[in-house]
Symmetry: C2
Subunit: 272 residues, 2 copies
Amino acid sequence: MKDYKKTCSKEELEFLNAYDSEKYKKPSVTADIVIFTMDEDDDLCILLIRRGGFPYKGCWAIPGGFLEVDKESIDEAARRELFEETGLRDIPLTQLYTFGSPDRDPRMHVVSVVYTALVPKDQLKIRAGDDASDAKLFKIRYENNGLYFRSTSVMISKEDLGPEDVPSEELASKDLAFDHADIIQLAIKRLRNRIDYEPDAFALLRDPTSFTIFELKKIHESIKNRSLDTANFRKAFFRSYLATGRVRDRNEKREDTGHKPAELYEFLGNQS
Amino acid sequence: MKDYKKTCSKEELEFLNAYDSEKYKKPSVTADIVIFTMDEDDDLCILLIRRGGFPYKGCWAIPGGFLEVDKESIDEAARRELFEETGLRDIPLTQLYTFGSPDRDPRMHVVSVVYTALVPKDQLKIRAGDDASDAKLFKIRYENNGLYFRSTSVMISKEDLGPEDVPSEELASKDLAFDHADIIQLAIKRLRNRIDYEPDAFALLRDPTSFTIFELKKIHESIKNRSLDTANFRKAFFRSYLATGRVRDRNEKREDTGHKPAELYEFLGNQS
DNA sequence: ACAAAAGTGTTCTATGTACACCCATGT
DNA sequence: ACATGGGTGTACATAGAACACTTTTGT
């Protein structure tokens, strides 16, 4: 693909060099990310950023930024945004959906390619970016058929403030910037559908190389927002992951837990 | 969303009116469509267009075009392209994926939002557009772990040429323009996954208001590229569609077919 | 002793798959 | 008579959900 100009005819090369790509009006393109994590209470959370400038100044929004034209793919732009916002690389990123109504942003026509990232507990160090005045984790809450967000008490920030310094904050869908409430709703829906047949949950473990079945179960429970049967979850785990070689039994136990020690497992990924 | 400027502060309104959206370089955005149909042999086909201009002049490509900025959403752009290419409106369109590598198009950085359309047999009247020199249906063929395309003998075109006038044409993935071979491969993969739990197959019926189980089965078979058991297909059909009210028994039979008359059914859609 | 989680077993039902078989029609 | 599809029934394996029960640890 990169060598197209080297292999094409002289006539075509002339056409390409004379081509004026600015003759048509273009939309702006952003890569945005819905970043999911588990907090200390084993609740599903998303990372939101308070907007420092217009439009929607002061509102909470999902992280994102403009595509650097001719320099990066949208996938790379999403990875770059994730790194700038969380300091994390090599996190599984999946494309969610692309939004492109002309009136999404009052400044101009913006096409947003949205990705979903699953970030492991504890590894997340939120960096409040230069253009963003604040960043916070919000628990996802479902109340009277609407979506709400409550900021987690334990916060990670630049100054490492204690829990007392960060008052709990409650957000409704309508308080979010742009169409980000719709985007988050879709991301949650997709995550819930995927969790039954994709190994997404492993990406949210504190340590995928050493975890118990109960820890994995808690992730499934908070994503599905309902409790699961222990026996049935184990059976499905053994069938789907241990028997297929995607998970290995470490033959070690998690001890000093206040209850019966649990077997530890290691996620090996999807390699053959 | 449209009334944002009416409800915001004077200060913000000044900001928005002074905002210069052209200060950053933007990519081009297109809406492209993978259009699936069944041909007379009950084989799965896609509609391809032969490119009349550079780049990839003379190569076959999926239909698509640039987003009209500030005028339409990408969904609307895809619907517009579908109408311009096939003359069909109100066809189910689902967003497939967004491609955005800088080197996809040798002219400039193009972000393509790709949609999948399922077009019913017979209703398709291909219009060779002004910028496209030719349009054809291609059967999808799987040979030695690669994807190939063979043009259907029976063709619909402006001049209504007979079958003899259109020689059969064989295409390999590498003969397609841009990264369209990858796009088509992904579209087929998604269609195959969806067919088991989404009512996509009904959209490919000659007449969704009057069809037999065998006709529906043939669509499933050509999408999955393998034959299915009659008894099992019926059972699944009764369970999934008749029992849930998404399909109605017409209490009529298809006759004069050279075999036992078959019961006719009507697809009612997904309304509650 | 008790809480908390670890871990095992049984039962019922729904689904997917394989396969054997008979039925009705036009040629 | 026969090809072609229409249509029914049985049998088996597996997956999911419900639930009862025992085990092992730290406090």
